[in-house]
């Protein structure tokens, strides 16, 4: 196949002509979100509206339209998710202190007590985890983490020992170190790039999967206390 079909020397005119409309869209989305934030009266609304603002950010990055832009979107997205995770937890802790009431971490309207929740989760979770391991990388991590989350959320009858949390969190930290080792091998010993690639891909996979799974472990602890 011709090299120009694979990688052109300049960005194609179609992408260039789309740049200005895309930037305007991004600015408009950002403006709508900002306008709403300056009017809102509720802290929870502000938290949700920041998501619209970050959508504008993603459009601004994507407007560049190169492979680099595609790779830069991922950090933007993850930063946004990470911040919303930490800040919503702070908001919850503040509200609980203010009102002196407690809430469940993951409130469910029904007491899920169905036969299918005992039998199906194991099978589905195993399929999701195997598929995630097969994909590796970020997507694999998200899918496997979804599997763990699903398993833990549906099987809430049995409690988890308190040190499970610390164990899983520790493994996730070690996976992060694997990923850094992989990154360094790329530069220290370029001939072992394949090893580095697999270290990085599976380090990220384990880390993301466990992070998503840990949400489930918190939820399960909470359920266990409710049952007592």
């Amino acid at each position: 196949m011709a090299a120009s079909v694979l990688v052109p020397t300049v960005v194609s005119p179609e992408v260039v002509s789309l740049y200005i409309p895309a930037i305007f869209t991004g600015l408009l989305v950002g403006l709508i979100g900002l306008l709403a934030i300056s009017y809102q009266k509720n802290d929870l609304h502000a938290l949700i509206l920041t998501d619209i603002v970050s959508l504008g950010m993603l459009i601004l990055v994507a407007a560049v339209g190169t492979d680099l832009a595609e790779a830069l979107i991922l950090p933007g997205l993850v930063v946004e998710l990470a911040e919303i995770l930490a800040i919503s937890e702070i908001l919850m802790s503040r509200e609980m202190r203010k009102m002196d009431k407690t809430v469940e971490l993951i409130p469910l309207p029904l007491s899920f007590n169905m036969e299918i929740l005992d039998t199906a989760p194991t099978f589905l979770a195993i399929i999701l985890i195997i598929y995630g391991a097969f994909l590796s990388g970020f997507t694999g991590g998200a899918i496997a983490g979804g599997g763990i989350l699903f398993y833990v959320l549906s099987k809430m009858t049995r409690g988890v020992p308190s040190n499970t949390w610390e164990g899983v969190a520790g493994a996730s930290g070690i996976a992060w170190c694997l990923w850094i080792v992989g990154f360094l091998i790329f530069f220290v010993a370029p001939s072992y790039w394949l090893l580095a690639l697999f270290l990085a891909a599976f380090g990220i996979f384990i880390k993301v999967a466990f992070k998503v799974g840990l949400i489930g472990v918190i939820g399960r602890e909470e359920f266990k206390k409710d049952k007592e």
Binding site: S12, L34, S38, M96, L105, W176, W193
Partner: protein, 159 residues
């Protein structure tokens, strides 16, 4: 008198996000007036949309050439001299990926391609330091959220 009131409202934490979003909104409005320029000599350019798909390429739109483990793909990085094995990750396909791409024309648009492939080249190799920071941001957010949850949201019941 009026200025004093403005200073006072700036000292109330609750008002700060509003003030910030108004200032940012005004600056964004200026973005509609500024002449936008786009340099078409970009790093890591990608082919015209739909071009590789009309060529019936199973790896479309992420085919950047190269033979797995032998020949590097084409990557236009900023500093090729600092990345000795550049293009190898892009060119790499796992055995399963090769198998799947022989059976379907739509391999590139699925999410089978990891590890190896274009995004992994940029995310893990040439701009890998960004991913280290990004995953540590995720980790810090988790440390904060889980610490708050474990120590306050849950322990409060025992207090």
């Amino acid at each position: 008198m009026k200025l004093g009131r403005i200073w006072n409202s700036l000292a109330t934490p609750k008002n700060i996000p509003k003030v910030f979003s108004i200032i940012l909104g005004l600056v964004l409005l200026a973005g509609f007036i500024v002449p936008l320029t786009y340099n078409d000599h970009q790093l890591y350019p990608r082919p015209t949309p739909q071009l590789q798909i009309s060529e019936k390429d199973p790896l479309a739109p992420y085919n950047r050439g190269g033979i797995p483990l032998e020949e590097p793909g084409i990557v236009k990085a900023q500093y090729p001299q600092f990345a000795p094995s550049e293009g190898m990750v892009t060119g790499y396909l796992s055995p399963i990926a090769i198998g799947v791409s022989n059976t379907t024309l739509y391999f590139g648009t699925s999410i089978y391609s990891s590890p190896g492939g274009l995004i992994d080249e940029i995310l893990y190799y040439s701009r890998g330091f960004d991913t280290i920071l990004e995953s540590s941001i995720l980790m810090m957010a988790f440390v904060i959220a889980s610490w708050v949850a474990l120590h306050f949201t849950m322990r409060r019941r025992e207090e």
